[in-house]
Each structure stands twice: as structure tokens, then as C-alpha cells.
Amino acid sequence: MSVAQPALDTLAPPIQPKRWRENLQIILASRVATIGLALVLFWVVVGLVSIFWTPYPPNSSLFAQNQLPNSTNWLGTDHLGRDILSRLMAGTQVILLKTRLPNRDWVIPGGVALWGVLGALAFGSFLGLNAGYRGGWWDQVIMQTLDALVAFPAIVLYLVIITAFQRGDLVVIFAIALTGTPGIARLVRSLTLDIKTRDFIRAAETRGESAFYIMFREILPNARGPLLVDAMLRVGYAIFAIGTLGFLGVGLPPPDPDWGSMVNDARRYIFVFPWGVIPPSLAIASLVVGLNLFADGLREELARYQK
Amino acid sequence: MLVNDCMTRHPILVSSTLPAAEAQRIMVEHHIRHLPVVGEGKRLLGLVTRQSLTIKPDTLASLNVWEISRFLATMTVERVMVKADQVITITPDRTAERAARIMTEHKIGCLVVVEDTRNLIVVGIVTETDLLAAFQEMLGLPTAGVRVTMRIPNRKGEFAKIASVVAAQRWGIVGVASYPARRIPDRYDVVLKITEVGPEEVQRVLQQIPDQELIDIRTVA
């Protein structure tokens, strides 16, 4: 780095690509994380492709019903004669890539699972930071409330929320966020309890920094690693949850396909046509396993890296 | 002096699975003649001596050239050692002269020092060399000084005379020994090592003790 000193203001940016490369190296160092990442990336690519192209329109019944895989329909057709492959591809979108706003045809980027987990992250971090950093009554009240929330089975919560509101992407997001909050809050609280004993927090306090500055600027960035890993796992759970809701018939609204509803639809014909449940089930499983592998590998690698 | 003070602590210990050739190497390299063999927890299993490593001529004669090398390669310490029940041991709280007595009685060169006579836990060994070293120390080696031998009558209070004379001169004694005078009845020879003083002065002072005879004086280092 003995190149002529660049103007000081332009020094900062070049760090970013270097950090990215470093992070990528960390992931590639672990075989587990690499496999996980490949699985996840596969589904992201499939979803992206499906926005522009699917073999057939996913919602139109163009073929004979309940076909096994053949040369025209690579994964067969469902009970309404729709191409399963096309529906499977399009089903990725709602989970990972787009959220449909109610009553309008507007769509915002980012799937239901992602927004749900982001919501849980936001709530959970806020509550966990306050509970951990301020301690005392704050801690008691926040954590007891969250514990009360955990006492309800998640599935009951989903059903309560969705019956209270209507079906819709936003409601599902809210349900996922709410059920994810306690776990993340607990994680953030324990990280905060650890980080707040470090001297740099004392240094901030001796500068008379506000509690919010210390929580969000000093503590939160250091909780990033474990939080990221946890969020990754939670995206997996969220996909499961969406599938479950779809299976129960209260998930994402039709007509766009989602994997859970596909399993549910096919389930009704399972004795007549068992094949129908297999592709969407495998899709859910592979994406969730991919996310889990990725998160596990990353955690292991991060732990080793920090030493 | 007790065995505890003159033994060699932390002797080299070997396990019973060690090849005999390796035991031989250790003994040669470290100039030692005895290797206690121990098991778990330093419990005595046996003792290897240089004699036990010599192969008996009749055994040797019964083997042909090929067999000899295999015989040697497979021979472990366990097969050549004196078994624990035949090894003569002593505990650290016995006296050094007792150890010497046992060794002369059995005509052996080494006693294994064990703690806990039931489990035989090895804490050290006493060899002839250790006892000879103790003997030197008793006579005041390695401190330099004047070594003087007095012949005194076998009577109470004779030694006290020497002691009081030395004390009056404020000299220090670093070694004392006494034994019955050779061939002269009723006399004892006392050897003293006195430091930080010249032989002439010692001679002058000690010669004046009545009934005693100064029979030898020399400066030793």
C-alpha cells in the first residue's frame, strides 16, 4: 500500500469490495455453506426466470388433468390440468421475490418470507436491545411479555391473526414477524448483555452518549454476525410456515401459485394421483434445507474466523 | 541421615512393554545400572539390572543365527526383569545405615525406595553411588577445610572436650565421623572437618587436649 496517497476523501469506498470478497471466502471455505448457498441461489434464479418466462402460463388449464411427468409437462400436470413445473417456478416469487399489496395490483420487491423475517428482526432487535441494555424493569416487562407470546403455539397465533384480518400477503408477513420476534429478541438480549460489558461501551457512556446511540450504533453492529445466521434460519422456518398456512388453506391468496397451496390442492387427490404432492414438497424441503445448511456453515465458519 | 535424604528422587522409570534393547540403551546413555519397571500409578513391577540383560550362554547356544535376532527384537523388559516380589525395597523413613546394611547383606547394588508397602509406589532408588555420596557429605565434602583425625579414649565426655575447644575458637565443623581405632583397643578415632582456618592453627589448638592424640591432619578441598 505504498502507492501515492490518494486524496483522503476517496479513501473509504474501496474497502467495500474487499470486504465482500472476504465474506465470500468465508462462505466458500465451508463445504456445508457452499452447498446451502448453491441450493438457495438455485431457487432465487428459478424465481427470477419465472418472472419473465415459464414453460406455460402457470394459471391456465391447458392440459389433461393429473398427468405424470412426460415430454410436454416435465413435472406433470395438476388436478386442473395446469403445468406443475410452471407453477412451481412461479411459486418461488411470493416466497422470495415479491409481495402483493392488497386491493391493488402493486407489488413490492422481496418475498413474504423475507419481509416477515425482516419485520421480526426489527421488532426483536428493538425489544432485545432495550431489555438487555437497560435491564431492570425494562428487561422484566419486555421479556415476560414475549414469554407470554411464546406460550401460544405458533400455529394458533397464525390462525388467530389471519382470521382476525383477512387473507393477504401483508397479514402473513405480520404473522411471521410476530411469531419470530420473541426468539430474535432473546438472542439480541443475550448478545447485548455480553457486548455491554465491553470497555467501548464504557467509553461511549463516558462521552455521555444517549441510550439509543449506544444501543443502535455501538451494540447492534457487533451483534450482526449471529443475527444474520439466525435470520437465515428463520427465513427457512418462515417458508415452512407459509407452506403450512397454504396447506391449511389460509395462506397466501389465490390465484398466484404458492408451494403450500399446491401441496394442499394435490393432497385431496393423493389416493388417485400421488405424484402431485411430490414436486412442491421437495421444493419446500430443498429451499429450507439449503437455508439451514448455509446458516450452519456460516455460523461455524464465523466462529472459527473470530478466533 | 534417612533414606529420604540420600536417595535419588525421580529415577528413570520404564514400562514393562519397553524392548530390552531400549532399556539397555537408556542404561548406557545415562550411566546407570538399575531401572525400576513400573505400571500405572508408578507401582513397582520389577527391576532391570545390567545382569538381567546378559543372555545366558546356554540360551544363546540353543539359538541359531536367525533366531538370535528375532529373540533379541521381541524381548521386552517384562521378560528379563527381576519380578517385584523378589526386588528388595525400603521405605524413605529408614536410616541410611540400615539401607547400607541391607545392601551388604544381600550383596546388591540398589534398593528401590517405595512408599506404601502394599501398593509399592516407587518414589526413588538408593544405589551404592548414593550411599557413597552420602558418606562423602558426612565427612564434609565438598566444602574445603582442614581434615583432622583425633584418637580419643573410649570414655564419656571426651568428644565434648574437642567440641568445646572448637567452639571456643569459633570455628565451624562441617563433617564428623568416628569409628573404633584399628587394632588398638578402647580407643576411638574421630575425624573432623573444620573450615575457614589453617592447619597449623588447628594442630596447635587440638594438640593441647589432654589424653587425646592428633594422628593425622591435612587440608582437603
Binding site: 500500500m1 463516558t206 457487533n222 | 562423602q136
Partner: protein
Amino acid sequence: MQAPIADPVRSTHASIPGPGPVLKVENLAVAYKVRGGEIEAVHEASFEIYRGESHGIVGESGCGKSTVAWAIVNFLGPNGYVKRGSITFLGQELVGKSEEELRRLRGDQIAMVFQDPMQALNPSLRIGDQMTEVLTVHRGISREEAEARCLQMLERVYMPDPANVLRRYPHQLSGGQQQRVVIAMALLNNPALLIMDEPTTALDVTVEAAVLDLIAELQRDFDTAIMFITHNLGVVARICDKVGVMYAGEMVERGTVEAIFARPQHPYTQGLLRCVPRLGMNKAESILYPIRGRVPPPNARPFGCVFAPRCDYARERCLQEKPRLRPVATGVGESVSEVRCHFAEEIDPGRWRPTLDMELPMAAATSPASPDTGEALLRIEGLRKYYRVQGNTLRDVLGLGEKRYVKAVEDVSLSVPKGITLGIVGESGCGKTTLVKTIIGLEEPSEGKMHFLGFDISNGIDKRDVRLIQELQMVFQNPDATMNPAYTVGQQIARPMLRFKTVSKQQVREEVIRLLKAMRLDASYYDRLPRQLSGGEKQRVGIARALASRPDLILCDEPVSALDVSVQAAILNLLLEVQRQFGTTLIFIAHDLSVVRFFSDYVAVMYLGQIVEIGPAEAIYAPPYHPYTEALLSAVPIPDPKAQQKRIRLEGTVPSALNPPGGCRFHTRCPRRHLLPDGGRICETETPPWRDAGQGHRIFCHLPLAILRTLDPVLTTPSHEA
């Protein structure tokens, strides 16, 4: 008359050719396999240890001391292995031995004591169960007999109330007691070799002194060979017969302790000795010379002599050719040291002069105002800090129980004049950190007044004015925790400037870089992240951050105790320079009395929440002493084997601050109480008076000054050759 048969020198083994060494390490190299290659932690180490000898291994962190020890007991972990060389233990080669054989050797003949005693103790088993297990499992000794032996051994290591200790769990003992238990356990097997890895580093000085005495005594009694690993030269001087100095994975010098300290042959050893303050040195008269540069990481060691890049005598040959360990006569008696240096004979440390690029404080500090005349920057009166303790009983939970308090700081009064350095010393738990936290506002005082620049600061930081907050800043102990790992150096130093608006936004960057330069770090550090810095560099950034708001008073909480000695000297010099340049007042907490003596103008000694003695530094370190100060001073390990130190050891442990003794708090352990009539009955009942010894030197003791003055100085050093 002296005892007639009196030659206590252990000359017996010297005169008679004894058996070979207990441990012989030859050309040892140890490597760890890591991602993308391997790291050779130890490159070349050779030494031997005989029966009854204690062999010190010294060196800075990361030079491979502990790795050598782990290699001997085969604790290298799954990715470490012995790459070259041999380790011979009692005539048998250890390298390549089977796991099973090594395990048995370790159990029966080699014992190890670590820095943290809890590493060796099982927290869920009673002490008695753990200790007897050693004997019952391997030796088939009956339980009753084993228990008797353990009891005997605990008595042997001077454990108070041993029978009771056997029934307790490890966490119920103090650190010093735990370490005694570990040593007792190690000795139960009567090992031939005892490896001690920084066994006293985590202990307070008075406890450390007692444990070191114990080790020296046991070594004589059990004829055990001791391998003693430490970074503390003072400890080595006190306990070792021979010393090996390690640097960057190599043994660079080895010799008797007298020779190493009196005539160090290797430039690194010489450098090390120049950078530790000796008790009695002060900043006005002497200078600490740090070693420039830093220890190279294992994967970037220089090709030739490893020390060449930091050596003042390095020549062409040092870069080209690796020196071998070779014997050199030292001139101390007939002793010969082994030295890894091409030019050892030509180097005369007496003629050494600091090079120009060395960080040295400019001029000696001018003598500061005395606390009575000078303008007081900070004035504290009758400060108390109590913490409420929550009990566990039902009554406590319901709020009915008696309210109990930890009396962390009790009735402290002091005043700090502008521009001076006040050192606060005391053992852990004496309340020095609480005092500092209360001053800076992290804790609110329970009682008492504090004035800073005439303003009342007897409240927490959130009630203080921003201008006041800005004037009080702090430097922390642990370099790894002092910086936020998520931000760059520049961002962290800039933050106080932005917050207190000491400079305009456009100039922040410039100002940060100026500060970095003052800390002798160049502008490229601006964008570095903390994990890219060494410990010393992090500490420099910590100081820069404290300085960024241009405070009047900086509180330093053990700023150098976590650093290696060569770095420590540089940081101390830096702080001196800062003080000279910015006129900052410093309050300096440390447990190392030599460092405090060197660095401070005034010193306060604390015991159990109270200041027991305060005054100018030179007055504290000479009679009259408070009995506690006297005990502390006599416990300090001095890096000079010839120094004569009085031997005063405190008995018992520090009483609990929850229920401190009445009267004088030190009376339960005071070794000088008997000098008072009636055996010091008065100490138990009445609070002692402050005795004024002049020049602001005050002692909190019942003993009249006339008696205190008659006590001999703790330390008498034979005059040093220049």
C-alpha cells in the same frame, strides 16, 4: 554462634556427577495446521532441566512459550504437531510415543499448573473428591488413606482450614486458594517434572508472593524439576535458577538467572531489561526504552536472525544467516550463557544509546505543584459508594430482610492538583475501579461531595453538562475491548469530536490524523479496523480517543497491564509525552507498584474501599510506611536477583466488603499491630487517625509516626554498576 554445620547451599548435587537431566528439549519445532497452510509457533527451542532445578521460560506473548509446554505434555490439539526435534523425559523420547503411554507419563510423572486454576478443577466436584481421585484411581489407595494424604498435602501448601476445604466446591475458594489446591494436586503424584504456565499471573501481588514462596519451598523438598513459564521478569528473578529467553518461536538466550540479569548477552534480553521499570525508578530521573517494532507473526518471520529487524546492532550478516545457539562466557563467575547472536561478544550494553527513531518522552517532567499549594482540579470529600445486595431468602425477595450493602468505597477524600499524575494502587477488590467510575459519573455516589474545576459533579453522568463530560475522559485496560470492532479507527476517534463539537465537521478528518500522528500512528490507520491492529496500537487509539475531546482529566484504568513489557514502555512514554504536551492531569490505576512509582507524582494506596496512605510517590515508597503499603512493597517481584527485599507476607484473605471489619479495616491482617500496646486492641474498635508526615504525606494508622519511621526500608539494592 552460627550453626556449625552450616552450608545451606545445595552443593551436594553439584559436587557429585548426578544422573542426566529430567527433561531435555532439543531443536524443538512445533507447528499448527491452519486454513491455507501451517503456522510454526515454535521454530527452535533447546533446553534441559535437572532435578530440583527451576528453569524459567520468559518472553512476550506469542513467542511460543506455552506451545513448548503443550508439546511436552502432548496437549497440542488436533491440528498441532511436533515438526522437528526431540523431547527426552528421563531418558525416554516423548515425540512419537503412543497416546496411551504419554497419558500415563502425564498422570504419573509430569504435572501441569495453569494460569487459571479453574481450568484444572472440575467445578461440579468437591475439592476432596477431586484430590482423592488422583490417588484412588491409579494407585488403588483406599479412600480413607487417600483423604489423609490430601489433607497432609493441603497443610503442606499452607491452606488455611484444610479439612473444611476438602468439603467445598472450587468456586467457594478464592483465586489464591484455588491455585494452592491445584499445586497440591499436582504434587500428590510426586511428579519428576512440574510445568507451570503463568501460575501467578492472575493473582494479586501479595497472594502471588505467597504462592511463589510456596513453589520455591516445595521445589527444595520434593526435588522436582520445575519449568516455569512467565512474562514477568521479576517473578523469574525471584524463583528461577536458570532462564531461557524466547523470542518469536526461538530460544535466543539461556543461562543462570544471575548471568541473564547482570550480563545479558543477546540484544533482545538487553532490550527487555531496559524497558521494565524497577521499583524505585521515577520518571524524572530515568527513562524506559521500548524495543522498537513488534514481534513478527509466525508466518512472516525474517529469514536471518529473527530479532534483526528490531535490533540496534543488526548488520548484513544478521539478515543473511541464521545464528545458532552458542556458548558465550558472561563474566559473572564462571557461568556461560547460550546465545543466539552472531556478535554477542562485541556488544556492550553499557555503551548502548537510544536510536533517534525511538519513542522517548522529551524532557523530564517538571516537578509539579504540591497538593496543598496547587490549584485543585478535582476535590473529593467523604465519598462513599455502596451497592445494595439482593439476598436470596424469601424475606429478602419480599423486601422484609435486612438491607445489606457492599461498601465498595468508604469515606475517600483527596484532591488532585492540575497537571500532575495521581497513582492509585491496591489489590483487586479494593475499590479503586469503583472510585474512578464514580468520579467519571458511571456510578452515582451514595454520599459525599466531588468538585471538578469548581463545579459540583456529585451526580451521574446523565445529569452533567456536556462541557463537563468533555473534560473527563477515560483510558481502559483491555486493548481488545476498548475499541468497537465494527468501526474504523478514524470513525471512533472522530466521534467525540463530533459529539462535543470541538472541531468543525470539515476539519475532523484532519484533526484525527493529527492526533494519530501524536500517537505515532500514521494516516493509513484512519481506515483500519480494530482487528487489524496489535494490542499496543489499539491502546494508542484508545488514548487518542480519550484525548479527542481535549479533556482536562484523563482516568487511566490499568492502561498497560494487559500489554507486553516492550509495548508497555512505549505506552507509558506516550502518556508522559501526552501529559507534557497537553498539560493533562492523569489519574492512573495500576496493580504494578513499579509502574505506579515510575509514572506518578502522587500515590494513594487503597485497601478495602479506604485510602490508607497518600502522598508524594517517593514518600510512599520509603519509610514511614502504612503497614499495608509495607506488605505490598515487600511482595513486588523485582527484576533483579540480587535485590534484598524484606519478607512480609499477609495472612488470610481480604475480608468481604459486605461486612468489613470494624475499626481499622486492615486490623485482621496487619503484621505490625503487635507494636501497639495491648496487641493493638484499639485497631479493632476505633477508626485510626490520619497521621501527617509532612509534604502532604498522610498515613491512616493507629501506630504513631515515630514507630512507623523506625521500620527498615523494604528494599535495599546493592549499588548498580552503570
